[in-house]
């Protein structure tokens, strides 16, 4: 029997050593390549390697794929693969009533049950506690070993490929071809043919198990999604930022310098960039976050695009130098991949609570643009925009992402290099021999942007620094009126950037009405899904999503006026909502979740229904 489905959410869960992330990643790629839309949410344990079999050691990979547009990795799961007892216990609450559980039987032996802290003698696969679900027990370990009994591999090595069994089986259920994964395995184990063959054998064994096992009578069919035509790949957030940085600097004709200090969940951006040295990218692992941002500013002074990235606590350390970059009026991109706070907080969880820090975490009046990305694929374009702003407006820019975006992945219709618009650095011109014109480093064009004069340029020697500068000359000035003038000018030149930005558009829903949901950052997918569903249910609700948090789009006030209620969901205690209330004096209300996890679309739907 084959059933047609529009969308399915699967959670692969197991011990951190079980290869869960790889399994999930493979399924994602295959689904995407078959034309589904996909969204993923990997969920790592906080420990590097928590003891095997424990709750603390559970690793999860949730993904949603469908024949419709997919914006989130799903609220509740339809299917859960549990490689051991701890995986089941830790994740059962996210499984839909009636959902399918595929349980690896040997992961439920007495030792595993004890480690998962099940009551003595209680095995969920055997008592009736899972009656609300459709449970399929599969002895993955045994079946894997059997599939490999002639492989000549040791038992430990055999067991390492049991994730392939599960993957094969799930491919069978959803009627997916094995080709993509076979290719992947062939490349990955190219130099170890015995492992390549073993993994392929097990993958196939899992697939054939579907054919032979009686338990599963149903297979599902999920057709391709109505995605725009084009060439696609899957990408995660930090990868996309990395690619965006490289693309932007190439388009600006600038060298890319990335100064950073490792921190979860920003480290993988450093890793990504470090790979691409053949693009001339210079990555620099500094001694700390302060040195990292200072090195980036130094690089920008030298005519590269200096970029630094970190997460909350590291960004806190950059505040002082960021203030300097503001007064220097120098290009700089600061990426904050936000995580749960305060302090060390929840390093492996996501949150949006650093917006205020981005806007205000510096001494004195130090305004700068803050822009936020909404999804893994969106990172690419948003990053290019951050770079464009930094370079063309000679200013530090903060780009906000978060852990959810950084690790999540989705299909990305990537552009061709030639179609990415060029970025134009406002380079100063070297003085000609004999010229007596005085060079004024703080003289501005009509965008209020000063020129970028690089060491090596003849006759443009100048000194910049953190003491208040005289208008135009840039010399140190203690003059009271000049200070007020410059303070206002620095604010104005950032505000002015809004003039060069597109108008904010309603993403979905009517232009006027009862409720506008105004979002920023990674809440995009949840809001989008909620609004789509609500509209389908005949409710009147609209959605607008901010990429530009500062300066705000010029037409935001007009948009807001057209709605009775403005709802602002944020994964914090209400930060954007405070800005909006203050600026537009409207009674915008917040919907706040501070659980280190994205909103489910139903949380948003419920709130909207409550409002209407």
């Amino acid at each position: 029997m084959e059933t047609q489905l529009k969308e399915v959410t699967i959670l692969f869960a197991g011990d951190s050593g079980d290869g869960i992330q790889l399994t999930g990643g493979q399924f994602t790629d295959t689904a995407a390549q078959l034309g589904n839309d996909v969204s993923t949410f990997p969920n790592f344990p906080a420990e590097i390697r928590a003891p095997i079999g424990t709750l603390a050691g559970v690793s999860g990979f949730q993904l949603k794929f469908g024949s419709v547009n997919i914006y989130t990795p799903g609220d509740e799961c339809d299917v859960m693969v549990a490689m051991n007892a701890a995986a089941l216990k830790a994740n059962l609450s996210t499984l839909k009533k009636g959902g399918i559980i595929i349980a690896n039987e040997s992961g439920f032996d007495s030792k595993n049950l004890r480690l998962a802290k099940y009551d003595e003698g209680a095995n969920p696969l055997e008592n009736h506690s899972l009656e609300d679900y459709e449970v399929h027990k599969v002895d993955v370990t045994k079946l894997t070993r059997e599939a490999l009994k002639d492989s000549g591999l040791g038992q430990k090595e055999m067991d390492r490929s049991k994730n392939m069994f599960v993957l094969g089986f799930v491919y069978w259920i959803y009627n997916r071809s094995l080709d993509n994964s076979i290719n992947f395995i062939s490349t990955k184990f190219g130099k170890k043919p015995e492992l390549r063959d073993a993994n392929i054998a097990v993958l196939k064994a899992g697939y054939h198990f579907g054919d032979t096992a009686e338990a599963f009578s149903t297979r599902y069919e999920i057709g391709p999604a109505p995605l725009p035509k084009g060439t696609y790949r899957t990408i995660n957030g930090n990868q996309a930022i990395g690619l965006g940085l490289i693309a932007a600097t190439q388009k600006a004709g600038l060298e890319l310098f990335y100064g950073s200090y490792p921190i979860t969940p920003a480290s993988s951006l450093l890793h990504e960039l470090a790979k691409h040295k053949n693009f001339g990218v210079k990555t620099y692992q500094a001694e700390d976050e302060i040195a990292a941002i200072c090195s980036a500013i130094g690089a920008s002074f030298g005519g590269a695009l200096g970029v630094t990235g970190s997460s909350g606590p590291g960004i806190a350390l950059k505040g002082e130098a960021l203030g300097l970059a503001v007064i220097l009026e120098i290009p700089l991109v600061v990426v904050n991949v936000q995580r749960g706070g305060p302090s060390t907080g929840l390093p492996t969880k996501t949150e949006q609570a650093d917006l205020f820090q981005a806007l205000y975490g510096r001494n004195g009046e130090a305004p700068l643009p803050v822009i936020a990305t909404r999804s893994p694929a969106d990172c690419f374009e948003t990053t290019i925009e951050a770079c464009r702003m930094a370079v063309e407006h000679m200013t530090p820019v903060i780009l906000l992402s978060d852990g959810y975006i950084a690790n999540g992945s989705e299909p990305w219709k990537f552009p061709q290099a030639k179609d990415i618009p060029v970025i134009t650095p406002p380079m100063a011109k070297e003085k000609l021999n004999g010229s007596t014109e005085e060079f004024l480093p703080y003289k501005r064009d009509d965008k209020l942007v000063r020129k970028w004069a690089l060491p090596g340029m003849k006759g443009l020697q100048h000194r910049i620094g953190g003491i208040e500068k005289e208008n135009e000359t840039g010399n140190v000035s203690y003059d009271p009126d000049n200070h007020e003038f410059m303070t206002k000018l620095r604010a104005e030149r950032i505000e002015k950037i809004a003039e060069y930005l597109p108008k904010l558009e309603i993403d979905n829903g009517p232009e006027k009405g009862d409720v506008l949901i105004l979002g920023w950052g990674s809440t995009y997918g949840s809001i989008k899904t909620a609004v789509r569903d609500l509209l389908a249910e005949g409710q009147e609700v609209s959605h607008a999503h901010l990429r530009h948090v500062h300066p705000l789009p010029k037409n935001l006030g007009e948009i807001l006026k057209n709605f009775k209620h403005v709802l602002i969901p944020e994964m914090n205690m209400g930060q954007l909502v405070q800005i909006i209330r203050s600026k537009y004096l409207i009674d915008a209300i917040g919907l706040n979740k501070i659980k280190g996890m994205p909103f489910s679309s139903s949380e948003i739907k419920n709130k909207v229904v409550e409002l209407i």
């Binding site: 993509n180 490349t187 725009p228 040295k277 001694e287 200072c294 219709k413 061709q416 006759g459 443009l460």
Partner: protein, 346 residues
């Protein structure tokens, strides 16, 4: 010669060409004036042109330095100058990059950046203006102030053991370690030139008199009456001779430096011969750090104490990029964007 020097012509500048139109605002009599003068002179001697030189400083009196040099410059934030310099040198190996930092800037808030700069060995020149005090903030003690220093923040005397900046720099892996002083212009110029010539991070400590908050901190080493007795000017390959008319020498008794009188029988042949490349000897020399009291005190060494050739960070960085380009081919943006696995929806 640094890369910068090697590739660029000599524009025939004089020290005056390196002055800016800004009023110099140090206190009258401050040792910084002399250092400024010598640096301007040395800049002219290097044959570098103004636009290929960058001075980067932190915050402090010393850190005002860039404003007075008609080169490119950054007056940055307190303690972080090496950070800016590292990023700049990474992307612009062609520039001659100088860091100016006070003892507070360099060794208190900036200590970490200093030691990491030294270990990495970018081709930078770090000038540590040591006046053993915080000048700009009106005279608190610094990490180089002797124990017992009475200041606003230590009205009953400081209790901290000061750093021995050169010992610290040596321990951090510094590849060029030297000392000079504001009041010996010739020696200062010579040592600045050596720092400039060294390919790697050159750490030059300059004793500088703060006549307002710590007047006379180094008078023992600069005053005519005591200078000969209390200072030892090192020359590579030369025996350690000092004192009035070179009357004294230093020899080693095991590891113990011993003062001998060349007038009273000792011969130059038995003296310790300075070898800039000997790290153990350098560490003994940095240990000449007791305060000078009488003729039995070891003199304070000046000049290049240690020097070592090792790869420069900015070169390793560029080389790695070149190698990767060779191995993988010059990056192709379209290939990067598409990655290894794509599909088409049509």
């Amino acid at each position: 010669m640094s890369t910068a020097e090697a590739t660029l012509g000599s524009p025939n500048l004089t020290s005056k060409d390196f002055a800016t139109d800004q009023d110099v605002r140090w206190c009258p009599g401050c040792g910084d004036y002399s250092i400024l003068k010598q640096v301007q002179t040395v800049m002219a001697e290097t044959g570098l042109s103004k636009e290929e030189i960058v001075f980067i400083s932190g915050i402090g009196c010393a850190a005002r330095f860039p404003y007075y040099m008609d080169t490119y410059g950054i007056h940055s934030i307190h303690g972080r100058a090496p950070g800016f310099a590292s990023g700049l040198k990474s992307v612009r190996p062609d520039l001659s990059v100088w860091v100016v930092s006070g003892d507070g800037d360099c060794l208190s808030i900036g200590g970490n950046h200093l030691i990491h700069a030294l270990r990495r060995n970018f081709n930078l020149n770090l000038l540590l203006f040591n006046n053993e005090i915080y000048g700009l903030t009106k005279g608190q003690y610094s990490p180089t102030s002797p124990k017992g220093t009475i200041t606003g923040s230590t009205p009953y005397g400081s209790i901290d053991t000061p750093f021995n900046p050169l010992a610290l720099s040596l321990g951090a892996g510094g590849s060029f370690i030297a000392r000079s002083m504001d009041r010996d212009p010739k020696h200062l110029r010579e040592t600045l030139l050596k720092a400039n010539t060294h390919l790697g991070t050159s750490l030059l400590e300059i004793y500088q008199n703060c006549n307002v908050f710590n007047d006379g901190a180094f008078f023992t080493y600069t005053d005519k009456g005591t200078k000969a007795q209390s200072t030892l000017f090192l020359e590579s390959g030369q025996p350690l001779v000092y004192g009035e008319n070179g009357s004294k020498g230093i020899k080693l008794d095991g590891f113990k430096p011993v003062i001998v009188s060349l007038e009273e029988g000792a011969s130059k042949d038995e003296l310790w011969v300075h070898d800039e490349h000997d790290k153990v000897k350098a560490s003994i020399l940095t240990g000449f750090f007791e305060h000078y009291q009488d003729e039995n005190s070891l003199p304070r060494p000046f000049g290049v104490i240690y020097q070592e050739d090792r790869p420069q960070y900015q070169e390793l960085m560029s080389e790695q990029i070149e190698q990767t380009k060779k191995a993988k081919g010059e990056g192709d943006l379209d290939a990067l964007l598409s990655g290894s696995s794509t599909w088409i929806i049509d």
